[in-house]
């Protein structure tokens, strides 16, 4: 049985090492925070100018001037800091953020990422996506394996406008964990009850396993 959203987030959380600085993109990636040990060993960066982002506030303690990049009310953990956007993006572009967990519309076998615009659709804008995709040390994509229409999202090449080229390292989907391998995707792990055949069928580029060499 494929992973559900929370199981996907939990699997993604296993990719996060203690002592790292992590930026979680808008949407599915925000669920990842809930699956980490509450020991203060991971520091969340929010590109609107906050390092040390904490959980949502307790009801009644919301501050409209304490928000994350998705404009949700959040809290600041002890040891958190606030700063201007130039400093915040210096952190990102300068390679100081260890990991960004991003959503995706399409990922290509060479690591190209498309996650900001669908041709002919409503453009939400770029926001911090391009800077995060090209600036963070490691990019983990968290996405369903196929679109609502059942089309593969892991492809030979992206057809949608790119966010950044060759930036993705690993992908966690509802079916599997895969690495970008240049000539295809390398299977790291299968969701329980999902087999290689299903993953291959639903992936738009070659999927290889260790056994393939």
């Amino acid at each position: 049985m494929p992973w559900d959203k929370q199981q996907m987030a939990a699997r993604a959380a296993r990719e996060i090492v203690p002592g790292s600085i992590v930026n979680l993109g808008i949407g599915l990636p925000t669920l990842v925070a809930g699956h980490l040990p509450d020991d203060g060993s991971v520091w969340f960066h929010s590109e609107n100018g906050l390092l040390g982002m904490g959980a949502f506030p307790v009801e009644g303690e919301e501050d409209p001037q304490v928000i994350n990049a998705g404009k949700q009310t959040v809290t600041v953990v002890p040891g958190g800091s606030t700063f201007d956007s130039a400093t915040s993006f210096a952190m990102i572009r300068g390679g100081h953020v260890d990991l960004a967990v991003l959503g995706a519309m399409q990922v290509a076998k060479n690591g190209d990422l498309a996650n900001w615009s669908i041709p002919g659709g409503k453009t939400m804008g770029i926001g911090g996506a391009m800077d995060l995709a090209s600036g963070a040390k490691r990019i983990l994509v968290l996405t369903r394996h196929v679109t609502k229409q059942g089309e593969p999202k892991l492809l030979e090449a992206c057809s949608y406008p790119l966010t950044a080229t060759g930036c993705v390292n690993r992908i966690v989907t509802d079916l599997a964990v895969l690495d970008v391998a240049g000539d295809g995707f390398s299977l790291v792990e299968l969701a329980p009850g999902v087999d290689e055949a299903e993953v291959r069928e639903k992936t738009g580029a070659p999927v290889r396993t260790d056994r393939d060499g």
């Binding site: 590109e47 949502f56 001037q65 990049a69």
Partner: protein, 249 residues
Amino acid sequence: MDTDTSTGAPAGGRHRDKVRASVGEALEPLFDGARIMVGGFGLCGNAEALIRGVIDRGVKDLHLISNNAGNLGKGLAEWLRAGIVARVTCTYLGNNEDLHRAMREGTMRIDVLPQGTFVERMRAAGAGIPAFYTPTGVGTVVAEGKETREFDGRTYLMETALPADFALIRCRKADPFGNGRFWRTARNFSPVMATAAETTIVEADELVDLGGLDPDDVHLPGIFVHHVVEVTAHEDPFEYRTTRPREDG
């Protein structure tokens, strides 16, 4: 700048008598067609009174430079509805239906930039840097028409400074010289915009005496500020009010 004919030196500096009695007075220098930067991340940290005051001021054909150009019909979305904006430079449209409508109807030019490039271009303008190279946007539509160049085997885009005529920003505290301090994530683009604009107008929740801010506590030095107006009441709307239950804490 006026010149004192006896010495040939500039006649009067801008760094005195900065406190304005009203929003209207603070906005007096605006003009039609001005490039105006407005601080805030969405509706967070908006100079609400200045934003509304611009509509009353009656200027038009503005080039708005702002991350979101408002949201939920509030803040800068009111400028879009009022038809006083000719051009927008932003990074994110999200659920800002007024901006989506403007884009759909082609009523104004809308440039959407990567957020890091957006703020770094403003920082460059404020810091006397005419252009810089960034990895962001290489191989994407953002790179169209731009020079690329390799450094140490990686490709970068050249981006140029983004200046403005005015910056409208909100501070939690400011003193009469214009030194300012922000609250939490309300800081965002504001202190950078202040450096990039020819004239910066600060809406301060609280105007403190000169000396009321410790030198080490100043987020925005007054050298970047030209007009200060105290506005004590703000709506500060929530865009997405997310909470956890109290028993959780």
